[in-house]
Each structure stands twice: as C-alpha cells, then as structure tokens.
C-alpha cells in the first residue's frame, strides 16, 4: 500500500514554525475571518489526502460541511488567482473534504486532562466552535441547547435548500465525538437556572445568538397573515407540509430576507416580492443571493419603505410602500428619508418582516448577569467577559448580526479567553493581530502562469429547484476537487534565500519560470514572493543549497523518502492522477510495494532525493511527471527527466546501476501506470537486490 509518512500535523507544524516568522501571509488565509490554513487543506485535497484535509479545515473552521455550503468565502475574493482566470473555488473544496469523508469514523474523545468544566449556553455556530476549541484543550464541556438539536441559526434558520439538516448534524456529531456533552431541549431559565450554571461550572459561555425576529409597528402589523422571518424559516425547515399564501411580500434586504423569499417560493407562493429600504447597490445581502433569487422569479423592489398593511376581514390583503430616498444620512448613520408622494402597492396574502433579530434574554431575567438599558449583555469585546468573573459571552448575541464565520472567529477568541482564565485565574484581552497579506501578482508573473480554468459546482436549474427544498448546489467529485485544489498557487509560502550560503550565481534567476528571484543590493539572491509559486525548481538546482522552500521543505520530503527502505519509491507531482497516486481513492489503490513521494511539482525533485532513497536500500526509483500541457508550472517534466538521467549516470559510476532509476513521465490510464510499474519491478527483480540492501523484497 502506498505509504504517507507525513500527516497533517507535521505539515501544519512545519508551516507554523516556518510562517510565524514571515512578515506576509497568503491573502486567502489573511482574508478568512478565522484565518483558516486554507493552503494546507487545499493542498491536502490536491494530494488526495482527504481525511487529513478535513482535519486541517476543522482546526479553524469547526463546521466544515456547513460552512462549505454557506460561508460567504471572503478568501476567494482575495485569491490571487482572480488576476489570472478566476479564484480557486475554496468553499467547494472545503465542502468536498467534508462530504467525501462523511462515512469516516468519528474522532476519538479528547482526554479531559484539565480538570475544569465549562458550560456553553447555546449550541449555535459560536457555542459549537468554542466547545470544539475547549474540548481539544482538554476541558470538560457541556452545551445547553434549547432546540432538539444543535446548530442554532444554521439549524433553525438557514433553509434546507442551502444547507441540509443532516450536514449540520454531521458537523455537530464530530464536535460531540471529542467528548463534548450536549444537552438538547434544555432552555436556560426553564430547565436550568443560569445562576446555578455560573456556580456549578468553572466557566460559562453565553452564546445564545439572536433568535427573535423583529417587526415594525406600521398600521396593520398585527393582522392575520403578517409573519416574522424566523418562524417562517423554522416552519419551512421542520414542517414538510409547510404552506404559505399565494402572494407573499418580504420586507427586508438582508440574507435572512432572501432566505425567506426563496423559501416562500418553495412553500408554494406564486408571487414573491422582496422590498427593502436600500437601493440596489446598497442591498446588504450577498450579491449572489440577489442573482439566484431573481433566477427563481422573485421580484426585488429596492428603495421602498413599508407604509401600511391593508387589512380585510382581519386578514392581510395588500401592503403599501413609500419611496425611500436615502437610508443613511451624511454622517453614515441609519436615518432613512422618504418621499411619500411615490407609493407602491402590492396585493398580498402574507407579509413577512425580515428586518432584523434580537436576543431572547428571558432566561436571564432576575439573574446576576447584568444587561444594559436596552437589554444587551454588559460585555467587554477584548476580554469577552460579562460582569461575572467566570461568565463570558460570544457570537451574535454580543457582536450583533453577521456571518457564520464571523461568529466562529469571535468564538475562537472566547475559547482563548476562557482557556486563559481557567489556566491563570484571570481574564485578559484577546488580541489577534491582523495578518498582512502579500501583494498582488505582478503582470510578468500573471503572464507566466499556466492557465487552468476554474471548476464550478453544479447548480440545479432555477425552474426545478424552486419545486422543493432539496439542496440546490452540488459538490465536486474527486477529479474536480483535485483539479481545483491544484489551482492553488501557494502564495507566500515560496522560496527563501539563506543569504550566508548564496554566491549570487544567478542559477535561481535563470531557472525560475516566474521571475521571482533577483539579486539584491547586498549581492545575494532575493525572492519576490508576489511572484513565487513554490514550485521548487530553484531549490533543486541551487549549487550552494542556499534556498529553502516553505511548502516544499527538504525535511518533509526526506521524511517521506525515509518511510521506505524496500520496494520502489516513486517521485511525482502531487497532482498526479488520483487513481494512481491516491491511497484513499476508491477507484484503484496504488500498486503494492510502491511508495509515492509527492512533490509540489516534479521539477522540485532533487538528485539528492533519489540518491537518498537508493541509500535507504530501496530497489528502484521511479520518476513520474505530468505531461507539459498538464504541468501547472512550466516544463516540470523536463527538469525531472534531466535530474533522473544525471542520477542514472552517477549510479552507473557508483556500481549500483543506473537501471535502478526509471524516468516514466506520465500515464494516460491507471492501467498504463500499473503496467509500467510492473515492468520496472520485473526489471529490478532481474537485477537482483540493491547492492546496498542484502534482502530483495518481492
């Protein structure tokens, strides 16, 4: 079986130790609210190491299946591939990592070594994330959740067509498997007293989210048929026979409003209008929500403020709007102005307010938790503390409405604050420096980058998808995911000069396809990270061994080489065909006795790597490389062949025999690969054992 000597930890640790001293970070991770190690999990998918990829996702993005569907992916907005032919589809890769591992066994529980107990009130995104971090840290964590299952807004609010409930359940189960106790159907104030929790636990985290929809007291607001967003979404999520009127008007322009409008369509409404104060450009919902809603036939009416609901026989019959001429005043404060001369009337069976949410603080009434005059928790954003020494708060209940990933970020901070409090006995400010991203791709580098068009996920046709709550967006299959992951350019993890060893010989300058190296004023090589693509051609050629490549580190490569002391070591690009390279692929396993050492590109292959494998006693070394038209760099195959031939000549001289190294190039089919390996194995058997290794392994 193919062996993978490294695991995600060694990759992440190497990354951590290396990158912490680097001034600039990759723009994706820098833009990500939880600073997920995106390049690592993308690279692991590219290598077919899916389980490890999922663990790398989960480290910061604690609900991978869910966020792989609903995250607004600011990472992709900053992806430097945007300047080439389109961002890497990071969200879809994350979703793939989660979905492909859906049947994998749950992780083992983390031993509760810290001897401290933490209660988390609310099992939404924030609560679950803090639970993940704290359980991983060895704390005994209990989540108190008022609903029948965890997930919070992504369970009760986000519609099934965007996020199926079983995906949320899968994400929750993974956190539960760490040893987190989850008490569902348990409401604070009703089933458990808050003050008791604060007394019984070493620390408490309030992460109850915003669960109460607000309305607007316009005339007619209390009529039959006037609804609030969250109850409508709950109905859509949990009642398979949910119905709504034929004509529905949704008031609001946020993502929740769009969820309501699109759900209403799926509940049978024939005419759905969405009216909001904001003009088209100011609509707060994500731009793709507008597009998808319009595709589904939802009428969007920007710049209208609700005026009056007309009621007939106690029931809604229509609603009128007044023209909203501005939402924010000159100071940028929410202060809408109207032109009452311009009126829009829409006939309606239902009007749904989707204008915002508040916290349900009922469970805390009369407790020692202090709230301000508006009922908001007294909270310090830096320490995440409430007025009580051991009670913290996190997520939308304190930060206000935002994205799921933003709640996740805040919850990571809360977990840090609680960990610190439980370790030192005092709370402190959680300061997370904003990482600085590297710059844009220079024009000459854009020109040199091999074009690889973006892979999109399949989306169900609008006419079809509005008929049910079946998930509308599909995921990647293995080939698509590996291809897409291979588009990552590993920005900012590239070559670094060890100045005292550099002879300014210009070799790196001459071999780099992207124009990254240059000679500095100090007369040593320097690397422009804006250009470097981490291929490693330079490191394998540098005569002074003065180049370190962050994502292609010799230490890591050597570890993989050293995992094999017999059989055949095969070097190749990490993007090699999954059915040949991929140990977890269900298609075909790698031929037995073959140990793949995946490199960022075959051009990273150093003569020393081949010699090392031979010295370890393996029978032979196969060198594979993508054909030039598939190489994500330039001419990786040529470099691999040159180096293989150099080592062949050297092995002839050594007396081991150059036949033990075979340059194989690439294969059109797995069968071709197996045949080539089979023939090579037969040739090696003919040669007899590696003279350095007395025992020949069949």
């Amino acid at each position: 079986m193919a062996s993978e000597a490294t695991n995600v930890n060694s990759q992440s640790e190497a990354f951590e130790t290396w990158i912490k001293d680097q001034p600039l970070k990759p723009p994706c991770a820098s833009a990500c609210p939880v600073n997920a190690d995106i390049q690592s999990f993308v690279s692991l998918v590219a290598q077919g190491r899916f389980k490890e990829s999922l663990e790398a996702v989960r480290e910061r993005c604690t609900l991978p299946g869910s966020l792989g569907r609903i995250c607004h992916h600011p990472c992709e907005g900053e992806c430097r591939r945007n300047d080439v032919e389109g961002a890497v589809n990071i969200r879809a890769i994350k979703r793939f990592a989660s979905d492909v591992c859906a049947d994998e066994p749950a992780s083992d529980a983390v031993p509760k070594t810290r001897g401290k107990r933490v209660a988390i009130i609310g099992g939404g995104v924030a609560g679950l994330t803090a639970a993940y971090d704290l359980a991983k840290d060895g704390f005994d964590v209990t989540i108190y959740e008022q609903n029948d299952a965890c997930g919070g807004a992504i369970y009760t609010g986000v519609p099934k067509y965007r996020l199926p409930k079983e995906v949320v359940a899968r994400d929750v189960a993974a956190i539960e498997s760490l040893g987190v106790t989850i008490k569902t159907n348990t409401a604070i104030g009703r089933d458990v007293a808050f003050d008791d929790l604060a007394k019984d636990y070493d620390a408490v985290l309030i992460a109850i989210g915003l669960t109460v929809s607000r309305g607007i007291p316009i005339p007619g607001h209390d009529a039959d048929g006037v609804l609030l967003a969250l109850p409508v979404l709950k109905e859509a999520n949990f009642n398979d026979n949910a119905v709504i009127g034929k004509r529905v008007v949704v008031i609001g322009g946020g993502n929740v409003a769009f969820d309501v409008a699109r759900s209403a369509k799926r509940m049978g409404a024939e005419e759905v209008s969405l009216c909001c104060l904001e003009c088209e450009d100011e609509i707060p919902a994500f731009s793709w929500e507008l597009g998808e809603a319009r595709e589904e036939g939802i009428i969007i009416n920007p710049s209208w403020g609700p005026k009056e609901i007309r009621v007939e026989d106690g029931k809604v019959s229509a609603i009128s709007f007044k023209r909203c001429s501005r939402v924010f005043d000159e100071k940028g404060i929410f202060n809408p102005a109207y032109d009452e001369n311009e009126i829009l009337g829409i006939e309606a069976d239902n009007v749904v307010f989707a204008i915002g949410q508040g916290a349900d603080m009922n469970g805390f009434t009369g407790t020692s938790l202090e709230v301000d005059e508006r009922g908001r928790i007294e909270w310090d954003a830096l320490t995440l503390k409430t007025n009580l020494p051991n009670v913290f708060a996190s997520g939308e209940v304190v930060t206000g409405p935002g994205s799921a990933v933003a709640a996740m970020r805040n919850a990571h901070h809360a977990a840090t604050a609680i960990e610190r409090f439980l370790t030192t006995g005092t709370a402190g400010a959680v300061v997370v420096p904003e990482p600085l991203a590297i710059g844009r791709l220079p024009r000459h580098t854009v020109d040199a980058i091999v074009r690889r068009e973006k892979n999109h996920v399949p989306v169900v046709d609008p006419a079809e998808r509005v008929k049910s709550f079946v998930e509308a967006e599909g995921g990647f299959d293995i080939d698509m995911a590996i291809y897409e992951a291979g588009r990552c350019m590993n920005c900012g993890r590239g070559a670094e000069i060890i100045a005292e060893k550099c002879a300014a010989c210009l070799t790196c300058v001459r071999v780099c396809p992207f124009g990254a190296p240059y000679i500095t004023e100090a007369r040593v090589a320097g690397f422009n990270w804006d250009s470097c693509q981490s291929c490693g051609i330079c490191a394998a050629e540098c005569p002074g061994m003065a180049i370190h490549v962050g994502f292609n580190d010799d230490t890591l490569i050597n570890e993989r080489i050293d995992a094999a002391t017999s059989g055949i070591v095969a070097f190749g690009c990490q993007l090699g065909k999954p059915e040949i390279y991929n140990p977890v692929s269900k298609a075909t396993s790698a031929p037995p006795g073959l140990n793949f050492v995946k490199l960022m590109c075959a051009s990273r292959l150093d003569m020393r790597h081949i010699l090392r494998a031979i010295e370890n006693g393996v029978d032979g070394v196969a060198v594979m490389a993508c054909p030039d038209d598939k190489c994500r760099y330039r001419k990786g195959v040529n470099w691999a062949e040159v180096r293989a031939n150099r080592v062949k000549r050297l092995l002839d001289e050594i007396g081991i025999g150059g036949e033990r190294v075979e340059f194989m190039g690439s294969f059109a089919t797995p069968e071709e690969a197996r045949q080539a390996i089979g023939a090579f194995r037969a040739a090696l058997a003919e040669l007899g054992p590696n003279p350095l290794n007395k025992v020949m392994v069949k």
Partner: protein, 216 residues
C-alpha cells in the same frame, strides 16, 4: 570565472583507495557558480563516494565542508577538524586545491574536479572559454573578441583557410573567432584597422611560474 568539470567518480575512488576517512571541501566562488564545486556538488560527490565504497563492501567516512574561497588562507581557516581525516578531496579549481595543500601540509590532497578554462556564463549550465591568460591583452585591436582564446589556432591575423560560413573547421559548431572579430569591427566601423597587421605576441608573458606584486 574559472570553470571546472567534475572528475569521474572512478578516478576519485582510486585516489582515496587507501583511506577510510576523507574530508571533501567545496569552494563557494567560481566552481560553485559553474555548478561543479559548491555545497550541492560536495554533497552529491560525497554521497556517491560513500555508496560506491559500500557496494565494494567497505565503509568510508566522508566529511563535507564548503568555504567561500579556497584561494585565500583566511577562508581556508574555516576548514575544521582536519585531524579527524586521513586525506582531503578538494572540489576547487587547481588554485584552491593547492591552497588546501599548502594550508594542510601533513594531509594528502586530491583534486575532485578538472580545472578547464576561464569562461563566460552563457546561460544556466553552459560556459564558454573566453581568456587564455596570455599576459598581453590585445582585445582593443580585435573588437573585444579574443583571438588567442577563440581561434582554434590562436592566430593573431586571421582567419585561416579553415573558416567555413562563420564556423571553425574543428567542428562542434564552434564559431570562427576571426569571423566574430570581423563582424564586430564592421559593426564598430573600424574595419580599416582590420587590415593592420598584429605584431607577434610576447608569449614569454604567458610563461610559467608567474606572479604579480602590487605591494610597491
């Protein structure tokens, strides 16, 4: 820079045949730049030597060190732990190898490369000879192209009858140095000088045991 090419492993192996602890020392200047004598070459050659010995059923310890230049005593001070070794293999040019030999008079020193010429770094991994060190430079008379180094016969008044469509009769696709000179002088508009006869050079200046003293 000084260009050198690797010696065959067989030759190095034969040189160190009687030893089982040798130090291989690289040079981080000219021979590193021409990809022959830097840290990478030291590592590859040392590994190859070790493996070749293993195949023969004998072990050899090969130490690996690389200094900035082997043609300066001060840099040779950086070569350490020589008392652990029975011999030194130097991957420097002939100058550096002799520097090592002078620095460590009690140790046998063996050349790991063949020093070949003074050359120009044309592109990655490709070098051409440009200078013979004749001691009497006449590049000002020949359009900046050296007839001593780039004419196969080192003719001072060429070309000879072996010039063939810009190439030299020796083959290997080598340019005729005198055609290069002619073309360059034409480009410079100094073809009239081409007709002047270059006087014979004082080849005594290219003789042996040369030294230079700038101290006065």
């Amino acid at each position: 820079m000084i260009v050198a090419e690797p010696k065959s492993l067989d030759e190095i192996e034969a040189m160190v045949d009687g030893y089982d602890r040798v130090l291989m020392v690289g040079c981080g200047t000219c021979v590193e730049v021409c990809l022959t004598g830097g840290e990478r070459s030291v590592n590859l050659t040392a590994t190859a030597l070790r493996l070749a010995r293993k195949v023969d059923g004998r072990d050899i310890e090969v130490g690996e060190q690389t200094v900035i230049r082997q043609c300066d005593f001060e840099y040779l001070d950086e070569v350490k732990d020589t008392d652990k070794y029975q011999a030194i293999v130097s991957l420097a040019c002939g100058v550096g190898i002799q520097g090592i030999a002078r620095k460590f008079p009690d140790l046998p020193v063996f050349p790991g490369v063949n020093t070949t010429f003074m050359g120009f770094n044309e592109e990655y991994g490709y070098y051409t000879e440009m200078c013979k060190g004749c001691g009497e430079c006449i590049l000002h008379l020949t359009g900046g192209v050296c007839p001593v180094a780039r004419c196969a016969k080192s003719l001072l008044n060429g070309p000879c009858g072996g010039t063939n469509n810009g190439k030299c009769e020796i083959g290997n696709d080598k340019d005729c140095g005198w055609v290069l000179i002619y073309n360059k002088m034409e480009q410079l508009g100094t073809l009239d000088k081409f007709m002047e006869i270059n006087m014979p050079k004082n080849y005594g200046k290219a003789g042996n045991i040369r030294s230079m003293d700038l101290r006065k």
